[in-house]
Structure formats: structure tokens, C-alpha cells
Amino acid sequence: MMVLEYFPQIILGVWETIKVAFFSLTLGLFFGLSGALGEASKITWLRYVCIGLTSIIRGIPELLVIFLVYFGGSIALAVLFGHYVNVSPFLAGVVALSLLFGAYAAQVFRGAFAVIPTGQAEAGRALGLTRWQIFRLIELPQAWRYALPGIGNLWLILLKDTSLVSLIGLSELMNKSQLAASTTHQPFTFYSIAAIIYLLLTSVSQLMLKYLARRATLYLSKQD
């Protein structure tokens, strides 16, 4: 059966998709936390830059962000190094998806930090902890609990947005499906297979998120 012949290729594609998603998640969480801190910063210009960046990234289509990072990245690196540097679609895709994730994650984190009673930060200051220690030891672990649903949702969106990286040439799932579909002239078959695989990925993710949510709210008392 022709479909089975493409099985190994499709598996390669799924692996690439998962790789992109996980790298983007890691970098994206970093961008998100930085963005949240930046938007709450007392340094005015930093605050404006962060708010501006997150608003712009959230306001333009994801495809445009990917193109800007891919083509803009090649140009920026060419200016830096003096000659043409090839930016891999993987790298450009991960950076772009991380920026997208981070811009929305910053909003989620801001909301999560806002729920934590300020008395805790004051107690930390009374104990002599530095601002950074207060953030790392007191606020961050608690914010995680409130941020989880929002971040989980952003993860699902991230998984689906990896399909867009196929448009700058990365051979992930969508790309492999396009290849198979055009060679066998069975587009419906292969795009359906791709759809089912995405459904599997998102369903498994949702199960994991439910598990994480249960664990995170384990010690939550009634008034939290």
C-alpha cells in the first residue's frame, strides 16, 4: 500500500515537529518570563520596549513573524559577519515560534504574578532577600500554578503553529505530508493522516496538562 511506504518519512516529520515544539517551548518560556519582568519593570524605556514588542508580535500574523525572522535573520547575520550566512529553517522557526510563544506567555505570567499577595514579597525583603532571590524562591514557584492553564493552551497553539515552519522549508510533518500528497496524488489521504497525528499530539498534551494541573493544585487550600 502506497501509504505505508511513506510511513518512515512521516515519522521523521513528526520527530522534527516535536523537536521544533520543545525547543520553542524552552526558549519561549524564557522570553515569556523576561517579557513579564520587562513589562513590570521600573525602567521606563525597557517597559515601553517590552510592551511594544509583545504587542507587535501578537498583532501580526504568525506567518509574517516567521518570514521576518527567517529573512531578517539572514540579512542581520550577513551585516554582522560581512558575508552571507545561511540561517537554517529550523533555527529561524524555533526563534520565531519562541517569540510568538513568549509574547503571549508574558501576558499569562503577568496575570499569574499579579495574583500572588504582595505581602510575601515584603516578607522576603524583611528577611533580607535580594529582589532576584524573592523572584526565584517565592514568586516563581507559586506563579507556575496559576500560569499553567494559560501556558498549556499556548503549548497547544505552539504545536499547531509548527506546521507553518513547513512554509520556510523545514521538513516537518506538514512538509512530508505535502511531499507524499503531491507524489501520490492523494492529498486528502495524507493531509488526513497529518490531521490525525496532530490530533494525537494535542490530545496527549492535554492529558499531560491535566496531570500537571492536578499535581500543581494538590496543596491548594480553599482560599488560594
Binding site: 507587535i56 498583532g59 501580526i60 500574523p61 504568525e62 506567518l63 509574517l64 518570514f67 521576518l68 529573512f71 531578517g72 540579512i75 497547544l156 499547531k160 503553529d161 509548527t162 506546521s163 507553518l164 513547513s166 512554509l167 506538514m174 505535502q178 500528497a181 496524488h185 492523494q186 492529498p187 486528502f188 489521504t189 493531509y191 488526513s192 497529518a194 490531521a195 496532530y198 490530533l199 494535542t202 490530545s203
Partner: protein, 221 residues
């Protein structure tokens, strides 16, 4: 190279983008109403298909949905010989249908959430007055639900706007497609990508302004 030479092309792109958006939103709202009725229904025969469609749409990327409808329908001989082919061979209609199904599914979830948020007392009052379910739905529940979900729906409309950019992948000349075309001719990649970005931000801003106006009108009472 005079950048203003490309203004008419860009304008055509914007018109196509707005056309896709409005088509998708109108069709999407109709689909959403149908789906919501299915989602709130207690009968499995309405409940199950609605849930299944929402599950599928929320679990797969928009790109896959667009490709399935546009390229996928070309696989079936019987489809090509049917009267539906007139619609399905056109990329514009395929894009509108895909976007409409996508936004319809997400909007139906919003609508269901809004209906659930209607204070129970209002529904009880309707039933006490002897209103039929249909009448109650039409005159009280849906308008109330729309007002509750207005701000969430503004996000959904922005998502549709951003979704129209994917229509460029099936040969449509929306703003994104036109930008690709211009870049292919002029090699001025960053300039026109940034121009496209600015235009999308302007459209975004207009949508938000529009919704803020709607919300202020809704707050009269």
C-alpha cells in the same frame, strides 16, 4: 524603485484580506449558532457530532484544514463531477470555508461559555413567564450571551484576520500573497515585510477600536 508604485497592489491585497475575513466571519457565526445549539443540547445525536467537530478543529492546525479542503477535494472524482466543484475548485471559497469552519468551532465554544454564564435567575424568569425554549433562546439568551462574549470575540476576530494570511499558501492574493509577489519582483524583502506588518497592525487596531465602540454601546444600561 518607487515604493508608492506598489500601493495599488497592496490595496488589492488588503481588499482580498478583508473580503476573506468578512466572508469567514459571517459564515462562521452561522455555523457557530448551529454548533452551539448542538453543544448545549442534551440529546446525544446533536451533542456528539458538534463535540467531534469542535475537537477536530481545535486539535489540528488551520493550515491542515485549508489544505484538506482545497487540495484534498481534488482527490475525489465524484466530487469533481458534482455541482459542488464549482465552489470547491476556487481557492477563495475554499479559504473562506476553511476559515469559517475554524472560527465557527472556536466561536461556538465562546458562545456556549457565555450562555452558561447567563445568571440562572434570568432563565428561570423566562420559564416562569411561560416562554418556549425557542422564544427564550431568540429574544433573551442569545443577545445576552453575545454581550457577555463580546470582548473574547474581539480576540477571535483578530485571529481570523491573522488566519487570512494563510490563504496566500493556496495561491490567493491577499495582503500576504501580494507581499510575496512584490518581494519576488523587487527583492526588497525586509522593506515590504515590514510594510505588511504595519498594515496588519493598522487593521488590528481598527478592529479593536470597532469592538470598543460596540462595547460602549452595549454598556448603556
Amino acid at each position: 524603485m518607487n515604493p508608492f508604485d506598489y500601493l495599488p497592489q497592496l490595496l488589492n491585497g488588503v481588499i482580498m484580506t478583508i473580503g476573506l475575513m468578512i466572508g469567514a466571519l459571517l459564515l462562521g457565526i452561522m455555523l457557530a449558532l448551529l454548533l452551539t445549539l448542538g453543544l448545549v443540547s442534551k440529546k446525544k445525536i446533536f451533542h456528539r457530532p458538534a463535540n467531534a467537530l469542535v475537537f477536530f478543529v481545535r486539535g489540528t492546525p488551520l493550515l491542515v484544514q485549508i489544505f484538506l479542503i482545497y487540495y484534498g477535494s481534488g482527490q475525489f472524482e465524484w466530487l469533481q463531477n458534482s455541482p459542488l466543484w464549482v465552489v470547491l475548485k476556487e481557492p477563495f471559497f475554499c479559504a473562506v470555508i476553511a476559515l469559517a469552519i475554524n472560527t465557527g468551532a472556536y466561536t461556538s465554544v465562546l458562545l456556549k461559555g457565555a450562555i452558561d454564564a447567563i445568571p440562572e435567575g434570568e432563565i428561570l424568569a423566562c420559564q416562569a413567564l411561560g416562554m418556549s425554549t425557542g422564544l427564550m433562546m431568540r429574544r433573551i439568551m442569545l443577545p445576552r450571551a453575545f454581550r457577555i462574549m463580546l470582548s473574547s470575540y474581539s480576540n477571535e476576530v483578530v485571529i481570523v484576520l491573522k488566519g487570512t494570511s494563510l490563504a496566500s499558501t493556496i495561491t490567493l492574493l491577499d495582503l500576504m500573497g501580494v507581499t510575496d509577489q512584490i518581494i519576488a519582483n523587487t527583492y526588497a524583502t525586509m522593506e515590504f515585510l515590514l510594510v505588511a506588518g504595519v498594515i496588519y497592525l493598522i487593521l488590528n487596531g481598527l478592529i479593536m477600536l470597532g469592538f470598543r465602540y460596540l462595547e460602549s454601546k452595549g454598556q448603556r444600561y
